[in-house]
Amino acid sequence: MAIAPITGTLRRKIITDISLAFGCGFIFAGLYWEFEHKPLVQKREAFYAQLKAQKEAEDSV
């Protein structure tokens, strides 16, 4: 008796796999964005905001 063809192994798992893979990807990317990009931008913006305030204070004197 022949063994039934083994098919569909890819298709059955592919949805789970792709979503999990994208999940991993977005986690990595999100971590980079939150903990690397955002603090840097924040630091820069804070500096220029402070610089602007300082200039305005000097101008009003």
Binding site: I6, L10, F22, C24, I27, F28, A29, H37, L40, Y48
Partner: protein
């Protein structure tokens, strides 16, 4: 806050930005890094799953000759990622090409192996253009706090918050004028005038190195740029024109 304006030990990222142009480059860099991290996660997960699921399954690929859907997906997805990266890149490229209403023009000439700076908008008491040369500071003349291979005897002095245009050319062979903090890199080609503009948002000292192989001392012709307040700049100019 301390800005990273010179190379530092173990520094991994780009130097800090001092112009909107370089800020744009940082923004683009981070966007691209986002997609890179996304792809890294995706590919790592897929690799692990493939190794785990299929190493012991001898029959898994038996009926699998080709998969059209799969092929479409793995063609379209990278194409989409590339598109997402290229659009902001082109926008930034064409934006930084724009030279709008510069308030000041400085001519920069590359020579073997030093730079010459001309403040073509101003003349000295005898009616000649203000110009001077800038050579690297030799190692034995370095002082505490100087940077080796980056400090020079004279520097380009420019006012803060002012649109400045650089007209760049060369006298002998090709050089390239580059200042990473400002996001500038432009070829200095003999017989050709290239222009680029910048707006420095904060005072400070910014460095650059010749970025086109120009001979034996290619590494020994850095550029040093001092960004000062407008008052200091005017004082500098008047001292220069004495």
């Amino acid at each position: 806050m301390t800005w990273l304006d010179v190379p530092a030990p173990w520094a991994m990222r780009l130097q800090d930005a001092a112009s909107p142009n370089q800020e744009g480059i940082h923004e683009l860099y981070d966007h691209i890094m986002f997609y890179l991290a996304l792809v890294l996660g995706l590919v790592s997960y897929m690799t692990i799953v493939i190794v785990k699921d299929f190493t012991k399954n001898k029959f898994a690929h038996k009926q699998l000759r080709h998969g059209q859907t799969l092929e479409i997906i793995w063609t379209m997805f990278p194409a989409l990622i590339l598109l997402l990266m290229s659009f902001p890149s082109f926008i930034l490229l064409y934006l930084s090409d724009e030279v709008l209403t510069p308030a000041l023009t400085v001519k920069i000439v590359g020579l073997q192996w030093y730079w010459k700076y001309e403040y073509s908008d101003f003349v000295n008491k005898t009616g000649e253009t203000l110009e001077y040369e800038s050579y690297i500071m030799p190692d034995d003349m370095l002082e505490e706090g100087n940077t080796r291979l980056l400090d020079t005897d004279t520097s380009i002095v420019l006012p803060v918050d002012t649109h400045v245009r650089f007209i760049v050319t060369a006298n002998d062979v090709m050089h390239s004028f580059a200042v990473p903090s400002l996001g500038i890199k432009i070829d200095a080609t003999p017989g050709r005038l290239n222009q680029v503009s910048t707006l420095m948002e904060r005072t400070g000292v910014f460095y650059g190195q010749c970025s086109e192989l120009c001979g034996v001392n290619h590494a020994l012709m850095p550029m040093k740029m001092q960004c000062v307040t407008m008052e200091d700049f005017l004082t500098y100019l008047s001292e220069l024109s004495e």
